[in-house]
Amino acid sequence: MSLLDLSISELGRGLRAREFSSVELAGEALGRAESLDGRLGSFLRTTPELALEQARAADRRLADEADPPALCGIPIGHKDVLCTRGVETTAGSRILEGFRPPYDATVVARLARDGAVVVGKMNCDEFAMGSSNENSGFQPTVNPWDEERVPGGSSGGSAAAVAARLTVAALGTDTGGSVRLPASFCGVVGVKPSYGRVSRYGVIAFASSLDQVGPLAKTVEDAQLVLSCIAGPDRRDSTTSPAPVSDLAGALREGVRGLRLGIPREYVEAGLEDGIKAVFESACRWLEAEGAELVEVSLPSTEYALAAYYVIAPAEVSSNLARMDGIRFGPGEPQAPSLLEAYELARNRGFGPEVRRRVALGTFVLSSGYYDAYYLRAQKVRTLVAQDFSRVFERVDALISPTAPTPAFRLGERTHDPLAMYATDALTLPANLAGISGLSVPAGFTAGLPVGVQVLGPYLGEAMCLRVGAAVERAADVWRRVPAGFDG
């Protein structure tokens, strides 16, 4: 038994009751990372000095304040795409090796404001491009439930570290499923907020119109506490919604009685592994038993969503990564014989194969003569995908489906087949195209591997997602299970 097995509210009670201090809690997280992460590779770097400083400050607040924030003193990990002032931030890419941002991402600043304690920067696929974490420029992360398998990506370090109890919670980013997929593969909760619900300021961009920061945590409530802290408008990100954040905590206790939940036919009719199907069907039965009405719905444009995604995301990334030129930051090639070579050497050495592929693809779909056939058309298909969701949300309160068609796959299994890798996100990426809310919640296991259920809610429907997710969590009752070798 470790303190890291406890939920945030349990830890909060212990901290307030002085059963343990934030310094002790951070020390335990860092100690576990020290002794166990050699196997996992979930941290790119731990931040002991920062953690100690923040934990001490948190302990003072816990002693002084009548009502300290729920996250005060709680250890948290930041996916390495989040800029942390003075702390190396690489986005999992060699091209950013040594980059110490002079500023904090808004989400990082908000967590710090509430007293959360940063224990480290979490590994991820390079610039968040990948579904397995094998595209990290530094090291792969493995799945704590089976170290031969991937943790999912791209927020694989965040998910694996939460599952293995190396941190209490972590932030990830979800562009096509990068929070929900690793959450499902590692047996933790992962939330993808609606586009614009959480600030992207200081988040190293993958695809600007799809990226959202979201929490990974052991429980739905933990995820809600982190989300409540980071959500809301930010004057530095013009795409954040000005709408106030709804009562997310209240949603957890409402239950699902009387809700109509849709099951998208296109998500369940083909390609699901049997074990996944079985876990999903039991989740459906629990929800019905809790009083929800389940109906089949159709999202007919789903068949085009993957294609649209793999035009829009690469197009945006080809432009977003243009600033990685080795002039203002990164190792660079300042001694190259010419300017052109300086660019090309820095970028060729700095970018891994998947990044090169997507940058090349994105450059192609935006280039003159191809824009209309690819980019413009993909944006129109995006409209169709969004309209599908709007239409069904007139009839149902939320959608449920498996998060992924399979459980965690083996390391190396899909690295040589980009298309097979891309298909991993088939059930998650439509939500990013439409900008709606979603989460993945652990619902059971198949052959010892966790299986997540995806809940999709309307735009700014985070409360609905959490409400349904909490019901699945209660029925599944699996969140206290710890991967073998990481318990105690």
Partner: protein, 484 residues
């Protein structure tokens, strides 16, 4: 072969006089700052940083577009223009591609007193790049150096239609545009320092032919003179190519001040492909009709109309009216002087003559003149009324300007008000004739030039306050040459 005709269109980039940059809170004023001391994560293009639109820059652009008679569409957006260059930190410039803030206007200008009009294709908004310096000689330097203080300064692009037909028209168009921007208060008009920049497209075609010839883009002209010179050079160069049976290549050429020639800029190894797409970090703009009407209502009087009005209202000369309306602060100063009772023509003379010279020497803008319009108007009134001489007035103005004092106060303090009292004058006149008998004799016998020293003697005896006109009249009478 038919005579060749030039077809010219100008693209003008104007930095906007906002306080902060286009997409971040850094200062828009960057000149004279230590290198790279005016940046933030956004304009430095650091990973994760995001742009936020400066409302004032949008308003200034719309206002300029309205002054040019452009349409303001209800929907507009920003796009990314992708290319690699060390002065472009993000690897893309945020600009406007297919839905600019404004479309379709025109600019009136004059060539040799004849009014012309040139179409305006569009006015849009973008961000400026940083500046590059070369370590050592440009052609042998091993390194270039980048300063990003300018990166992200709001830049308005005014694209003109190819309506100009001779190099002579180009600087006149640009002058009129510059004057308009000055009157709108959106740009400082400084071409030398690059806050106002001009590129030109020029092609030739046989007169009477409808299709356009091959277009050459010319850059690096940083004065009206170099703009005209570069275009004249291109006309000669392209004519020679065509007349010798060759074809003009579509290319970009730079004006070299040293060589007084345009030089082909090293041809790029591939055609530029900017891969424009909508800027996903910025929601689009929906320009409300209320805003458009509010900005339209706040437009100043168009410079040409202001010039004509002042000319007609105050019987100014053509050139005088043009000079007094060159910049809005000039016109404002002039109108304030007139309002304070100064006769308009004298007011203009004093302003354009002595005052402007003083301002120029002191490197002060007229709006910050230590002698405000009301004070100068009072001085001009005294001169006109004969209470002080023009010479004294000018001398006092110099001192008042230097001391930041009122010229009229100085005149009163020093007792410089001209004496026109006949008895007092008579005494000084008699004194002068006694003092300069030879001059008196010469004048009496018809030598007009001898009057000067006599008047001088009167002035001297009076301590400078004798009214010189009265003095010469009395001297004439005394010496028997009264009545002309």
């Amino acid at each position: 072969m038919a005579e060749l005709q030039a077809v010219i269109g100008l693209e003008v980039h104007a930095q906007l006089l906002t306080r902060s940059k286009m997409f971040c809170g850094c200062r828009a004023e960057y000149l004279g700052l230590p290198p790279n001391s005016n940046t933030c994560p956004t304009c430095l293009g650091l990973p994760g940083a995001l742009p936020v639109i400066n409302r004032r820059a949008v308003e200034m652009t719309i206002q300029t577009a309205l002054a040019l008679g452009c349409r303001i569409p209800e929907f507009s957006k920003f796009d990314r223009k992708n290319y690699f260059y060390p002065d472009l930190p993000k690897g893309y410039q945020i600009s406007q591609y297919d839905l600019p803030l404004s479309l379709g206007g025109h600019l009136e200008f004059e060539v040799d007193g004849e009014r012309r009009s040139c179409g305006i294709t569009r006015v849009h908004l973008e961000e400026d790049a940083g500046t590059l310096h070369h370590a050592g000689e440009i052609h042998t330097a091993k390194f270039s150096l980048v300063d990003l203080n300018r990166a992200g300064v709001p830049l308005m692009e005014i694209v003109g239609e190819p309506d100009l037909r001779s190099p002579r028209e180009a600087p006149q168009y640009l002058r009129a545009l510059r004057q308009l921007l000055l009157h709108l208060g959106v740009n400082d008009g400084n071409m030398e320092q690059g806050s106002l920049r001009c590129d030109a497209n020029i092609s030739l075609r046989p007169r009477g032919q409808r299709e356009l010839g091959v277009k050459v883009e010319v850059k690096n002209m940083n004065s009206f003179r170099s703009l005209e010179a570069a275009l004249e050079f291109e006309v000669r160069r392209q004519s020679a190519v065509i007349e010798s049976g060759g074809t003009v290549h579509q290319e970009t050429r730079g004006w070299s001040e040293v060589e007084q020639a345009t030089v082909s800029q090293r041809s790029k190894e591939e055609a530029q492909d900017y891969r424009y797409f909508p800027e996903p970090d910025l929601p689009p703009l929906q320009v409300s009709r209320d805003l458009v009407e509010r900005l339209r209502g706040a437009l100043p009087e168009p410079p040409l109309r202001l010039r004509d009005r002042l000319r007609d209202q105050h019987q100014l000369g053509e050139e005088q009216a043009a000079l007094i309306t060159e910049r809005p602060q000039d016109a404002a100063y002039f109108e304030a002087m007139v309002a304070a009772g100064a006769p308009p023509r004298s007011a203009a003379n004093w302003q354009l003559g002595p005052l402007q010279a003083l301002c120029k020497d002191a490197k002060l803008d007229i709006e910050h003149s230590p002698v405000p319009a009301v004070e100068l108007a009072a001085l001009v009134r005294m001169v006109e009324a004969g209470e002080v001489s023009g010479t004294t007035g000018r001398e006092v103005l110099v001192e008042a300007f230097a001391m930041g004092r009122s010229p009229v106060d100085l005149i009163r303090e020093r007792g410089l008000i001209q004496v026109s009292d006949a008895a007092q004058m008579q005494a000084w006149v008699d004194g002068a004739i006694l003092q300069l008998p030879k001059a008196a004799a010469d004048f009496r016998s018809g030598n007009d030039r001898a009057l000067g020293p006599l008047v001088g003697a009167v002035r001297k005896a009076s301590g400078g306050v004798a009214n010189p006109d009265l003095a010469s009249r009395l001297l004439r009478e005394r010496l028997g040459r009264g009545g002309g």
